[in-house]
Structures are given as C-alpha cells and as structure tokens.
Symmetry: C3
Subunit: 270 residues, 3 copies
Amino acid sequence: MARSETISFLSDYGLTDEFVGVVKSVIRHIAPHAAVVDIAHEVPAHDVRAGSLTLARAAQYLAPGPVLAVVDPGVGTDRRAVAVESEENGLTFVGPDNGLLAAAMAMVGGAKRAVSLTNADFHIASPGPTFAGRDVFAPAAAHLAAGVDLAELGDLVDPITLTPGMVPLAREEEGALVAEVLWVDRYGNAQLNVDPDEITQYGDRVRLRWGEQVRTARRAFTYADLRTGEIGLVVDSYGLVSVAMERRSAADELRLRPGDAVSLDAPPDQ
Amino acid sequence: MARSETISFLSDYGLTDEFVGVVKSVIRHIAPHAAVVDIAHEVPAHDVRAGSLTLARAAQYLAPGPVLAVVDPGVGTDRRAVAVESEENGLTFVGPDNGLLAAAMAMVGGAKRAVSLTNADFHIASPGPTFAGRDVFAPAAAHLAAGVDLAELGDLVDPITLTPGMVPLAREEEGALVAEVLWVDRYGNAQLNVDPDEITQYGDRVRLRWGEQVRTARRAFTYADLRTGEIGLVVDSYGLVSVAMERRSAADELRLRPGDAVSLDAPPDQ
Amino acid sequence: MARSETISFLSDYGLTDEFVGVVKSVIRHIAPHAAVVDIAHEVPAHDVRAGSLTLARAAQYLAPGPVLAVVDPGVGTDRRAVAVESEENGLTFVGPDNGLLAAAMAMVGGAKRAVSLTNADFHIASPGPTFAGRDVFAPAAAHLAAGVDLAELGDLVDPITLTPGMVPLAREEEGALVAEVLWVDRYGNAQLNVDPDEITQYGDRVRLRWGEQVRTARRAFTYADLRTGEIGLVVDSYGLVSVAMERRSAADELRLRPGDAVSLDAPPDQ
C-alpha cells in the first residue's frame, strides 16, 4: 500500500498534559517520515458532539492520509476502536466508534471500508490499563501511514454498523424555524444548523427567540457591515448562518451556547 | 524562484477551534515539503497591537521563508491582503494590511517589494464567504514556499502605502519619562517601551507612577537578584526595560496591563 | 556523530507568547532536518515539580534524540545549564540542572554522560541578557541533533553531581499509607504516588482522608465501571493508582490538587 506523508490529529487531550506529545512520539517511532498536522486538541473533555463538529468542519480540507481522532468518554466499555476509509479525499479516520467520526465521514463521501482494531500485533504494550490513544489508535494511524493495509489492522466490519452522528436538523414549527447553536467560535460567533436558503422567506430582518429572550437580527454580508451593538445573521465561511456582532462576542452578549435552541421567524410587525 | 523549507505562522485563531489546523492542511496540499513553525496562536482575538508586537519580537529569529500572520478584525472591509518581502533575513510576510506586519518588517530592514493578493488563481474556493486565512493568506504563503514569485500573486504596490504600525515611543514630560506597557509575558513581567539608556539618569532606584499608584523599583541585572516582594526594573532578553518581581507576577501584583501608561523618574527624596 | 531526526520539547513557556516559536525558529536555523515534537508547554510557570513529572511520564515514549526541557525559575542564578545522555533509549536531555530532568532520566536507565553547557561557541548572541531557552538550550539541542558530540558543548561533569529530583514516596504511618497527589490530569483524575500492590491489603473499598475530608473509594478496573457520583481508585495507564469519577472531575469534586497529602487505609467498619 502507498505510504502517507501526513497524519491529521484531533483530540480532547488538551495541551497541558503530555498526552498529545506522547501520541506523536509513538507515531514517530513507527512512521518517522510522516508529518502530524494538529486539527485541535482543546475540544472540551469528553464532548463527542463538539469534537465531531470540529472534525466535520475540517474534513474537506485535510491532507490525504490517516486522521487520528480521539474523544473517548467510553474508554474501557465495549465501544469498538475502528479505522474507516472514506470514499473521497483519501482519508482514513482512526478513533472510537462512538459517533465522533460520522459527520466528518459524511463530508468526504461516506465510508468505503472499515475495520475493528482487533489485531494486537499493531498495538503497543502499556505499563497499566490501555490508554487507547497511545496504545491502539496512534499505532494504527502510524502503521497506516507507513503503508500497512487497513484490513491487516483487524476484522473488517460493515460500515453500516458504525455508530451514527448526532448532528441535529433544524425543523419548521408553527411558522418558525427551530434551529440549534452548533458551535461558538473563538470570536463569539454562534453558528446555527441553518442554510441561508432556509431563512430567505423571512426577509432582511429576522426575529430570534431563545430561552426567555427575543431579539431582532439583521441579515448582513460580512461582520464589518454591522453597526456597533447590532445583532447580525451572517453566512459564515462554512456556508451556514451564524449569529454575530461586529468585533465583539455575540455568544457572550446574548448568552448563547452550543446546543441552545434558537427559533427564527419574521418579526411580528413586518 | 527558490523554494522555502519553512513557513512561520502567527494568528489570533486560538487552539480550540480548527482554524489553525485547517490553514496548515491547506498549506500541506500546496507545499507538502515545507514545515510550519507556529509562533503563537493565542494572540487575543482581534488585538492587532498585541499580534504586531509578538511578531516583532520573534521576527529576527524566524527561519527564511513566508511568514503567515493573521489578526484581522477588518475582514470583509476593503483592507488589502498583502505579501511583503523584507530587505533582510529572507522573510516574506503574508497577511492583512492593517498595521500587523509593520513593526516586524522594521526589525528585518523594512520592505523591499509588496503585492496586493489580487490574483484569484492563487486563492481557494470557499463554501461560504471568504475565510481570508484559509482561502487567501494560506494559499499565498504556500505558493511562495513552493517557489512562486511574489509578483505572480497580485498587483505590485508601493511599500510606502502599507499601513504603518502603532508602536508608541516613550516621551519626556516634566522631567519624567512617560512610557507604556508593551507586553505582559507568561511570567508577569511587564515590558516597557524603554531602552536601558533612557533611565540611567535616574540612578539605581526609580519611581514608577501609574493610575493612582506610586512605587519605587530597583534596577537589577536578573530576576534572581531581586528580594522576595521587591519591585525590580530588569533589562529583558529583548533589550528593553521591564517591571519584574522574583518568581511572581509583577503585572498581577501591581495591576499593570498592556497599554497602561507608566511614568518613570528619580524618587523625590534622593 | 549520528544526526537525530527528532527533538522533543517541553517547557513552561505557554502558548500565548512567542517563546516556543522563537526556540523552534532557532532550532530550524541550526538543524533544519529535525522535526520538533512538543511534549507540553503549559506546565504551570516556574513549577519544576510539575514539569519534572510530565517529562517523566513521557520519557519512555520519546523518539531518540535531544530532549529540550525548560522550566527554569533560577535563570540568572548560578544553576548550571546541562546536557545529559541517558543509558537507554538514546535520549539526551538539555535543560537547567534544577531537578527538572531527574525523574525522566531515571525512567530511561539513568545518566551516562553529562556536560555543563559552557562552550559559548554553541550559544547565540542576545539583544539583552541571556534568554537561556533561546540562547543556550535551543542551540545545544539543535547542534546535538545536527551531529555535534555532547563533549563539544562544554565541560564534562560527573552525573552524580546533577541535582536530584523531588518525587516523593508514599510512606506507612499508623497503619495507613500516606500518599501524595502527583498530578491532576485534563479529565480531573488525581494520580497518586501509589502502586496498586501497595493497597491490595485494604481490599475492595479504601478509606481516603485528606484535609478535613474522609471518603470511601471503590477499586475499579476502568472509569466506566464506576457508578455516577461514585469515587473510584483506578490504576491509570501509567500503572499508578488514581482517584477518579465517571465522566466528571474527581479533583474538582473532591478539591484535590497536586501536592496534597492523601491517607489511604481500610474503612473502620469493615
């Protein structure tokens, strides 16, 4: 099999402990030719949903090769460890079968082949119980980068048995679109699970309701088009509608957090 | 043109979102031979001044090649996207023309050539509005590393038209030197825009005044020369005077923050 | 001498300032062929003990080559700058002789040869006082990676003169094992300086006492074996006993911090 020059890597390990460094060191022993590109490691601890969305946003840009992704609150349970080849872009996702990989896999054409990482010849020994990232996932990703075929890493499994993702769809309800905050980015923009087409019917001004709050937002082309203090609905660089303010955090200002439900419709007095 | 083996990279993207990873993935598709050296990505969001100073402190140490620098609160306005070749050290800065690059450029001999990144052949397509770091700046830096000449990336512009920096100079006022806190580092040392020569006239003990506070500091050669609790003025490793305490944060203790004005002179009863 | 393809790097520099990036840039000038693997840079500022333990946990996994490690509150004192070759695994630790390296060195068979980094030909000039990481340690690590022999970097010193580590041993006291929290990881697990064998005598349930607190913990094989809210004693992936809870932070819940003393024995009514 062909070697890969790149291994992409996402986790919830944080950067304070040595976990990320140890995983990269393990990779370096097995596949010293491969560069590791960090996607993100400050995914909130155990937050499979946040990790899944971060991975999905990055997926279409990743360099061909293994994609090591570990957010794994169920380590020690019987959740499977898997490697999954994508139909497009030449990626092989390696991680827990807990839904983390599903949305990203969908972004690159779905799964072509999958294995359960059961072949212990490709694991490394642990001084204590298994640290899956270090002992199972990292060696698997590194051996793939070194040219080992997916099928050697364990038993082939039907991709249809992989745990599906949990990305919610917006829904119509009493003339409003009930959406969800998918992500609050570094700048405080709150991305919704809404395509721009879904809200054209409401016109230039859109009423937002969440919790006890009701506010009116204006559709704008860029953040810079907004006046100071104005709430905007801007199509972000991933093509989704996000709640934004100019040079300040809309999420802080409006107390929006990932997972919050937001209802969108036309303001009543239009 | 010669290829570059290194791309240096500074941003305010933070390390929680996937922005840094996506930019590196984009680079990897275009210039897989180049290593990316991260300068810093936790520059406070939208803080052009802090980013500019961080970049300037690093500039003289950077490996030859493109320097991708993105702190860009004006994305979506008509601020230019530029690439600027330095006179010395073989650097080409790539980023927004908003003053971010100016101080660093001055550290390496000024600008030799500059272009506005107007050639869309070297941009990548976005699923939404342009994410300049990913779609314009990263491809430009990568193509430069791959050997594309600066002039191919867009229209040549006169370097004199580039936005100047905002680094303040200390000034004499009523016998005192009115300085500014440029930077508070990880250890709480507060770097001032003051050369050691500018305060020799005040002798070994220097009065500091800021806000409502008045304190006396002692000049010391190293942090370790200070007694516990004593306030020191130490020349830092960049050659500038900084307010420091031994093994604790002077900035926290004295409530000094970047941008604060600090007045230095001789204590009155000397 | 043989070149090394990898330089591992740990520090307390944090990722907000440019320190890590500048050190890597310095390395890149001297040893452009070498990849730098970051172990961790968010070690708490000046916390030699935390840095030492982080380095020791990573040591056995590191790729052969120089290991640059800088947590250096005594910069500017007469503490030595050293490079130390390990007996096993082909590592050469480069850093301050303040105890930071000792525990890691012990994990890889102890020291074979050591030098004090006194040869200024392998330092770089500073615009101000020496920034040891940038001006002394980084060039030393890079020259080692480029094939320079240890003995060229300065005066050979007897490894027995190196500052020892400060890793505490658990001790028996009035029928209880008095242990210490070595580390609180990203997930809130509190690692103790206790081997599983040391507590088998207490059986399946173990009384924990710290400060004014008394709680009973249950020994479990994995985090997932714990019920919600239950306190567990789990052998972690480094082979040490840690206080853990299922999908929440035991350290936050129980207010355990690194360095806290914890007494373990059998519950009284067993």
